[in-house]
Structures are given as C-alpha cells and as structure tokens.
C-alpha cells in the first residue's frame, strides 16, 4: 500500500489508564494495581508494575500519564531519601504524601497524573492518602485510574473497617479483577504490595489465578 501512515502508538501519549487501589487494615496497608499501559488503542506494556517504592515502608500507586507519574515518583523518592537523612529516621507516610501533593498541585495544569500514597510508620501505623489534583486527604481506602469508576459500587458495599491482612488482600484482588474485566484500559496481571511493621511484601497474581465471576 502506498503512503502508509505511521502506527498509531507512535503519536499517542502513553497513559497508564489503569486501576489502582490502596486500603488500610489493622496494622498496615495493602496496595494493588493492574499492569496495562496503553498508547491510544495499543497496549505498549502488559506487565508494568505501577506500585512504585518511595521508601522502605512507603509505596505509591501510579495512574494517568505514565511519564508524569513515573517522574513524580522518582523525584519524591529522591526528596524522601534526603529528608530521612536529615531527620535521622524513617519518614512519615504523611510527609511522603505531602511531597507528592506539592508537585501535583504546583504543576496541576501541565501534568495529568494521580498518585495514591500508602505506607506504614511508627507514629500512625498504616495510612492511605489520596493526592488527586493537588489535594491531600487521608482515607480508609482509595481507588483511582480509569477502571475505578466501575468498582465504586463494589468497594462502597464491601469495605468494612478493621479487616485482617488476608481479608484486605482478597478485597484488593477482587476489586482489581472486577475493574480489569470491565475497563478496556486495565488488564494483565495484578500486583499487590502489603506493608506492615514487619516489612514489605510484593506479590504478583497472574491472569489465570484472578477470581472469576458468574459470567466467566
């Protein structure tokens, strides 16, 4: 064919168009994400881990423009390292969330990324912060990304205070599976990170191990 146009993904912005969730349980937090990165209609990475460490016991979940989100996470990672050296101990989760919020707010016109920050510190235990569009708010759980619209009803109905670690992990996996089934921009595998006072545990749940529902 003469004069073939270049493939669409070369000219489209790369978005993480995603489903991310973080939830606080009795003694820590669980973060979860899918693994699809899309550029227009193409999936450019089907196994990206969108849970990025900001510090040993503080992680963030990325959504929106992939480049913006990754850059914010890297910059805050550096700022937190410096900060924790200055204070001589591990940083608070609220400090990490504040640093993320400061960048999101300052560059809110130019950037389009939403990061959920979650972690464990000695003072307040497990905490989840949402930083959408430059606000900072602590919540018992937070969902974000394009797939989150489809699961608002599910998380509203199913979330209970004071769940155990295993119940929270199951809740996160169920939510991710439901969102990945309905959102075209979410898919692949599910990544889970569990943070409590004993440490940080990363887990991958492959596609065929995800929970299935009545119509599958």
């Amino acid at each position: 064919m003469l004069g073939e146009a270049e493939p669409q993904w070369l000219s489209e912005e790369v978005k993480t168009g995603t489903t991310i969730i973080a939830i606080e349980f009795n003694g820590g937090v669980v973060l979860g994400s899918d693994s699809r990165v899309s550029a227009g209609e193409s999936v450019v990475n089907r196994v990206m881990n969108k849970l990025s460490p900001l510090h040993d016991k503080i992680y963030c979940a990325l959504s929106g423009s992939a480049a913006d989100a990754q850059t914010i996470a890297e910059v805050v990672n550096y700022q937190l390292d410096v900060h924790s050296m200055e204070i001589g101990e591990d940083p608070k989760v609220r400090s990490a969330a504040t640093l993320v919020r400061n960048i999101s707010y300052k560059y809110k016109e130019e950037m389009s990324a939403h990061l959920i920050v979650a972690g464990w510190d000695r003072k307040d235990g497990g905490q989840v912060f949402a930083t959408l569009k430059g606000l900072l708010t602590r919540q018992p759980f937070a969902v974000g990304g394009s797939g989150s619209s489809y699961v608002y009803g599910f998380v509203d109905a199913e979330y209970r205070k004071g769940m155990s670690k295993e119940e929270s992990q199951q809740f996160v996996v169920n939510t991710l599976a439901l969102a990945m089934n309905r959102d075209g921009s979410s898919g692949g595998v599910a990544y889970l990170v569990t943070i409590d006072k004993h440490g940080t545990e990363e887990k991958v749940i492959l596609g065929n191990d995800l929970p299935t529902f009545f119509d599958q």
């Binding site: 619209s149 489809y150 699961v151 608002y152 009803g153 599910f154 998380v155 509203d156 109905a157 199913e158 979330y159 209970r160 205070k161 169920n174 939510t175 439901l178 969102a179 089934n181 309905r182 529902f213 009545f214 119509d215």
Partner: protein
C-alpha cells in the same frame, strides 16, 4: 458571579439515571431510581417513575432523553397491543424488545434513548433484553444502564448469581441502585422496583430513609 449553563450533550430533559433488570428463579426484577435532571444542574423531578408497563407482564426502563423515551414507549405499547390482538395471545417478551429495537434502529439518527425490557411469558419464562443506543438487541441474565450504571458494574458482576430467590434478587437490585445513587449525582430519589412472575406483577417503592446504608454514610 456569572452563571453559565454547562453544555448538555443530551437535548432537553435527560433522565440521567440508573436502571437495572435481573432474572431470578421464577421471575424478573426491574428497577430504577427516580430523578430527572436538566443538564445535571437542576432536578426537574424527584419522583419520576422510569419503569413503564408495555403489557401485562412486560415492563421496560428508559435511559437517555426523557422525551425520546416516552415517545418510543408510547408507540411500542400501541404496536404490542395490536400484535397481541392479532396473535390472540399475550406477546412474548422478545416481541416487545424487538418492537423497541426496530424503532430505535430505524430512527437512530434522531433518537437518544436506550431500553431495558424485562418480563415473563409462557414460552421462555423470565427474560431480560437490552436495546442499546444504536438499536442492538441482546438477551442477558442481568443488565444495567444509564449514567449511574458505570459505578456498579463491579458490584453487579460480583454479586449477581443465577437462580437467586425473589427476596435475594430484590435486595440485590435495591443495593445496586442505592450504591449507584450514592455515587452518581444525576441519579437519586427513591428506588422503584417491579417484580414480575407467572402469578403477577408487584410494585415496590423503597423510599430514601429505607435505602440500605453503606459504611461511609
């Protein structure tokens, strides 16, 4: 301060709504919220009933432009009653759904309405059909529609089970619509439910104070 009207993509009064229908063991439940709004800024009716009867055991729910939906259902009702006189028997649910589909497909340029049709007939028992915006007709065990439905896809996928009892299905429908009303600002009011079985038709209205509460309220 200047007030401006946000651009309304749906002309005129929109039902900006949440509608749902589900099959249970022996019947169907079809339900909706009760809010009609203009451009998402003004609630023009708090108690509109979006569940319309098109025949004795066949109901449909409308989403989209209210005017289009009312016009189409009125026409469909007429076609169906004529059809049932000709056939000398009550119409099949799929007949009702097909009438709506023909109207939607043939007028797809002008219309902006989608339908869920649910009912019971002697041939296939309880059924749910969805007629989408362009005129596609599909049969499903459970289906949701309207602007509020986005928020409950996850809940419906997780909680619907085939062959539930009537009470379980009523609770499922009430919960799902209440959750959608909690997140969608153009859905609200009361929950209207219609339960259709071989024996007959039962209307249930769940007022605001009797709606299920979820832990953030």
């Amino acid at each position: 301060m200047e007030k401006h009207y946000t651009e309304c993509k749906v002309k005129g009064v929109s039902t900006g709504t949440t509608i749902l229908a589900a099959v249970f063991d022996g019947g169907v439940v079809i339900g909706s919220d009760s809010r009609a709004s203009i451009g998402g800024e003004y609630v023009s009716s708090k108690t509109i009933n979006k569940v319309i009867q098109v025949h004795d055991r066949i109901f449909c729910c409308i989403a989209g432009s209210l005017a289009d939906a009312q016009a189409v259902t009125k026409t469909a009702k007429f076609h169906l009653s004529f059809h049932s006189v000709q056939m000398e028997s009550p119409p099949l649910v799929i007949a009702a759904a097909s009438v709506l589909k023909e109207l939607c497909y043939n007028n797809k340029e002008e219309l902006q309405a989608g339908f869920i049709t649910a009912g019971w007939d002697k041939k296939k028992g309880p059924q749910v059909y969805v007629v989408a915006l362009g005129g596609m007709l599909l049969s499903q065990p459970v289906t949701i529609g309207g602007s509020g439905s986005t928020y409950i896809y996850g809940y419906v996928d997780a909680k619907y089970k085939p062959n539930m009892t009537k009470e379980e299905c009523q609770q499922f429908a009430t919960n799902a619509i209440a959750l959608a009303m909690g997140r969608d600002n153009v859905s609200g009011g009361v929950v209207h439910l219609v339960v259709i079985t071989e024996k007959g038709v039962e209307h249930v209205v769940v007022p605001g104070d009797k709606l299920p509460k979820f832990n953030d309220e």
